[in-house]
Point group: C2
């Protein structure tokens, strides 16, 4: 059992190395879209919720709830975990963010407009980067399998693990 990967969550940014650059314009656009969507639905994107979303959007990797707590404190004031969880609850409910169960981590939706359809996440088990994709092939296959087994499908996120291009050979 020399190299058994641990069962539990690994913080996404311990010894982090990033392969993809990050653009802030994308984040601004996403915020604007999110605001529009919330207005349309009568949902309240309050300052706290908005800030949580901004921090998620500003991160190239999924963040743990307590990572968010750390990043959201202002002038020595630490935000209570429950506050972050409540904001995440809201964001997830409205399709603005997702939870990665396999990592106990959260990330912003890459495309708000798709709403709560079946999406998939490719998660690099080396660097923790997550790519959200909406693949009809995956959705169809999953739907077929569910139907075959008599399961009624519920729109959910699929987590697929692999090793991203940047992490190949190198590690």
């Amino acid at each position: 059992m020399v190299h058994t990967p641990s069962l539990q969550h690994r913080l996404p940014n311990e010894g982090a190395h990033i392969h993809a650059p990050w653009r802030s314009e994308t984040a601004k656009q996403a915020i604007a879209q999110s605001e529009a969507l919330c207005r349309a639905k009568g949902a309240r994107l309050t300052p706290i919720r908005r800030r949580v979303l901004e921090v998620l959007l500003a991160s190239p990797k999924p963040l743990g709830a307590y990572d968010l707590v750390d990043r959201l404190g202002s002038q020595g004031r630490r935000m209570a975990p429950i506050t972050v969880y409540r904001a995440l609850d809201f964001l997830i409910e409205h399709g603005l963010a997702h939870r990665l169960a396999s990592r106990n981590a959260y990330l912003a939706s890459s495309d708000v407009s798709t709403g709560r359809q079946t999406t998939a996440f490719l998660i690099c088990e080396s660097c923790g980067e997550a790519t959200e994709i909406t693949s009809p092939a995956v959705a169809d296959t999953v739907l077929k399998v569910l139907k075959e087994q008599g399961y009624q499908p519920r729109a959910r996120a699929l987590e697929i693990t692999g090793r991203c291009a940047g992490c190949q050979d190198i590690h």
Copy 2:
């Protein structure tokens, strides 16, 4: 936020209702297979590990680590969580059990012989029952998507959520 499903783990057997019966012969067979497989690999299926596997096999639903702790105590003696986690670690590493990240729960492999290939679990979000399937269609699709995105595939378990046949309409 009236009916937001909680983010955290729900014990798999709280208010449990079971739709499928359970047969103990299958469990005995699985134990025999597991023993054979461990002998062949030089892995040691010790009494503790074997008991954990037996308890998993005896459960129609995935069990939390602390459920296992509760079920494994004998004559007032409570097994330490770490002991259970170590046993689970072993079982998972050798393909005898799986972890369902979306539920923080563990279950025995339905077919030991398939080893650590890409399998999928259909998880009922109502009753918690999990069905392990090995669908070439799913495996192929996942592989293709990974390749498209430059990901190197790593054999892992896919967790697909839905509502099982028994739970339809009823709830």
